[in-house]
């Protein structure tokens, strides 16, 4: 996805990878319990938390959104309900509006949603009464997986948080 937008990307699997220079961080989809485990084991939890609190632009999708909430990294003032739409049979796809971006395809896979948010959080999209995309400072989070579609608009929106020319 980033490649298509002409943006260079690196994979961060351990503390060593974390030492290289980068301008923004994407916390992708996956299983949040497994991702937390790896971040703890690789001693990445604190450095990631500190960097985000110091203003590193971050984008969390699905499991990545869970990691940003008040029960995990504690970076965004949101509470996220896991597996909020049930098991795989509850997974679905829909085209829906995001404030400031427009209609985008949304792929929900055993997805979470935001059940509580604080004053500093700007809600960007509500689907059937549930918050599925939100922003707080340079932190962007969504329930669905833009990385699984051809649509690049959300990634482009997030890249605008980063103060370098692309």
């Amino acid at each position: 996805m980033l490649e298509r937008l002409g943006v260079e990307s690196v994979l961060i699997r351990n503390l060593n990878d974390w030492q290289q220079p980068f301008d923004g961080l994407i916390l992708p989809g996956g299983e949040s319990t497994a991702m937390m485990r790896v971040m703890k084991d690789e001693a990445l939890l604190e450095p990631v938390r500190e960097a985000i609190k110091d203003g590193l632009p971050v984008f969390g999708t699905c499991a990545g959104m869970i990691l940003l909430d008040d029960k995990h990294l504690g970076c965004m003032d949101i509470s996220v309900k896991r597996n909020a739409y049930g098991r795989q049979l509850g997974s679905f796809q829909k085209t829906h509006n995001i404030k400031g971006i427009g209609d985008v395809p949304m792929v929900f896979i055993r997805a979470p949603y935001i059940e509580r948010y604080g004053n500093g959080v700007e809600v960007l999209s509500v689907l059937d009464g549930h918050v599925v995309a939100a922003k707080q400072g340079k932190m962007l989070a969504c329930s669905f997986h833009p990385e699984l579609t051809e649509d690049t608009s959300i990634h482009r929106y997030w890249l605008s948080f980063i103060n370098v020319k692309h």
Binding site: R13, N14, G29, G30, E31, T33, A34, R37, V38, D41, E42, C62, A63, R82, N83, G86, R87, Q88, L89, S91, F92, Q93, V107, I109, R110, H145, L148
Partner: protein, 290 residues
Amino acid sequence: MEDRTQLNRNLAQMLKGGVIMDVTTPEQAKIAEAAGACAVMALERIPADIRAAGGVSRMSDPKMIKGIQEAVTIPVMAKCRIGHFAEAQILEAIEIDYIDESEVLSPADDVYHIDKRKFKVPFVCGAKDLGEALRRINEGATMIRTKGEPGTGDIIQAVRHMRMMQSEIRKLVSMSEDELYEAAKQLRVPYDLVQFVHENGKLPVVNFAAGGVATPADAALMMQLGAEGVFVGSGIFKSGDPAKRAQAIVKAVTNYNNPKILAELSEDLGEAMVGINEQEIELLMAERGK
């Protein structure tokens, strides 16, 4: 492509880079989840015990599967027999996240696999080579794994299957377009799937390693050979210290290219499962269902 197939392929995308562990009780499922498993496979007996016990092996008791579904928040998979679509319907009814149409259980049909396109729930199937993988995908499988030789702790078959698939994929990639029709005929699969592999250099679905993975080094080997994740069956809960070994295998899959980390992970894991060599087995499960 249908939305449902896409959604089911996408769930497998989310499991990529992860480890799926066989568990037989809610307690084991919790150990697996805490160790960082991306999903668990719920079954009554792990393959090593199925092999030891002999006899007909069937789908697990739904009650036992439900107990595991309640114990963890990660996806729960379960196995049904090859061709046994009624078992698959039952697993779909209890909202399983993924069905493994598996050669580890006794096959119910020696000709037909399940028509997986009829289901909303996703399927993973085993394959020894590219033709088998593409036939299963054509039937509706949304994830593929090597067949390995389950319950042996011997990695040789998983290696053979993964190498075979990767080499056949490379062959298709290097072919000229007019050679693809003949390739489709040889592989006994539809032309469009052959064309996809030719253009993309990979299967249209996620491809995991399975069968015989017992150590962090085994997991790293399979990842370096091109697996996108690993199933571990008997290897964990047949070993001396399951929690520690489970964590070590998860970390090995994350850091499969880093021998230094792999060395640390391989230290002090306690007893590995005993294992059986390929030549010592009487029943080759990988030969079930082609």
